[in-house]
């Protein structure tokens, strides 16, 4: 047993444990359309988080008696794989997973045009493969892309990012250690075009001023990530287009030679 380390969450240069400045995001990498058999899918790496999202629908809602007459039944399952954490996570849904499934669903449903598909179901499956703090924000960000990839009509993507307080200072995008040892954690999800907030939770203590600061910081972070979401959606498409255009050029070049 090691003696408890004193974590210098913010050192004298104002840098955090992973050398980030107070408003730096962790490295994020997003891929869309990674699962062939799902209607839509996305994979996100955010810091050390690795999360896979699959979307099915609109399709027949099972069980039938839960189907809604005037709109689609939008369901969401957030689940952590047993190997996603250092200590094996019991595969059975924990209270935390049930809560996150609910809040994530509530953060995404407002952008879905649910009235277009009455009596059907849309299922969002979020599987956390590796967890490092901020999984709900990464999940929401990836799930929006999976919905767009599935061709489900949505008003906009939902994007999420957390801010918090560490060593008395408001910072963006808490890592696992910062979340555990810090003073507050504030995950926020927004619909970027309108600025509407669809998820807002807080863990810890913030004064009114600190709260405002953190909220604004998180929203700024969200906007940066929104640009990455659009990039990821277009990337797949643009690659295909470029391949085709390169082929066409080659073919034209060969025709010229003849």
């Amino acid at each position: 047993m090691e003696p408890e380390k004193k974590y210098e969450l913010i050192n004298e240069q104002g840098l955090r444990l992973d050398n980030r400045k107070f408003d730096d995001l962790r490295p994020i990498k997003i891929d869309v359309g990674v699962l062939e058999r799902a209607n839509g899918s996305a994979y996100i790496e955010w810091g050390k988080n690795k999360i896979l999202v699959a979307v099915y629908g609109p399709r027949d809602a099972h069980p039938r008696h839960l189907a809604l007459e005037d709109r689609t039944l939008f369901r969401c399952r957030y689940h952590m794989a047993p190997f996603s954490t250092e200590e094996r996570k019991n595969p059975a849904p924990s209270r935390r997973e049930v809560e996150l499934s609910k809040v994530i669903r509530e953060s995404l449903e407002p952008v879905v045009f649910t009235e277009l598909y009455p009596r059907t179901g849309i299922d969002v499956f979020i599987e956390v493969l590796e967890s490092e703090g901020g999984t709900r924000c990464a999940s929401i960000t990836a799930a929006s892309l999976a919905l767009a990839d599935a061709g489900i009509p949505i008003r906009d993507m939902v994007v999420a990012c957390a801010a918090g307080k560490v060593n008395g200072q408001v910072v963006l995008d808490l890592s696992d250690i910062e979340d555990q040892k810090g003073d507050a954690d504030l995950p926020v999800a927004i619909i970027p075009r309108t600025g509407e907030v669809t998820l807002l939770q807080m863990d810890g203590n913030l004064t009114r001023e600190e709260f405002d600061k953190a909220l604004n910081l998180a929203i700024e972070g969200c906007k940066k990530i929104y640009a990455m979401q659009k990039e990821a959606l277009k990337k797949k498409y643009v690659e295909a287009k470029e391949d085709v255009e390169a082929e066409a050029e080659e073919a034209a070049g060969e025709a010229d030679k003849e």
Partner: protein, 235 residues
Amino acid sequence: MPFLVERRQLVTPGDLIAEDDFNAGENTYQEDKRIYASRVGLANFAGRNAYVVAVKGCYMPVVGDLVIGKVVETRLGAWNVDINAPYVGVLFTSEAFGRSFNSKRDEMTSMLDTGDLIVAKIISFERTRDPMLTIREPGLGRITRGHVIKISPTKVPRLIGKKGSMITLLKRETSCQIMIGQNGYVLVSGAKPELEALAILAINTIEKNAHTTGLTDRISELIKNEKKEKGLDGT
């Protein structure tokens, strides 16, 4: 006034594509006097109609559409048919046998059983009920030969082409019968398995490159080259 993006520009959901006196066309929605995209695709306009040609989207049944489906369940008096839509299609025996039918289960399976593929037409679809099908018209019914492949329903118009130019080309050059279901299922039936395979290759290529230009010529080239390589053109 304006259409705010370039024609055929790739847009994502939430992108503003037009303002003021445009109407919200396919795969868009309107808020105040602004039109936004609701699906990923290429934005364009025709007259005052601003729309998005979606990259991916599910098939919504339309009355009169020709569809290809797979029987998934045999019930008393009706078959449930998977038509690649959010709703399962229902084929009543009256729309298959054409007379008042004394429903005995073995009589039903003599015509259609679970697992059969059919070409059908949608005769009714309302928000409150599952779509109803018929196989009573000529050309409809159980599929007995050929291959059925699946493409994205949004690519069906490209497969057909302007005034049927693409599909006519395919049928002629591969000597195959090709029936396109609006729901994205396509039936290919040819004299030789190699010709069927060629048609399927062409269809898959069209699907992948549906958004590009000059496709009809390129597909014509592709078929010609493949036929040459495989010795199918009689040389």
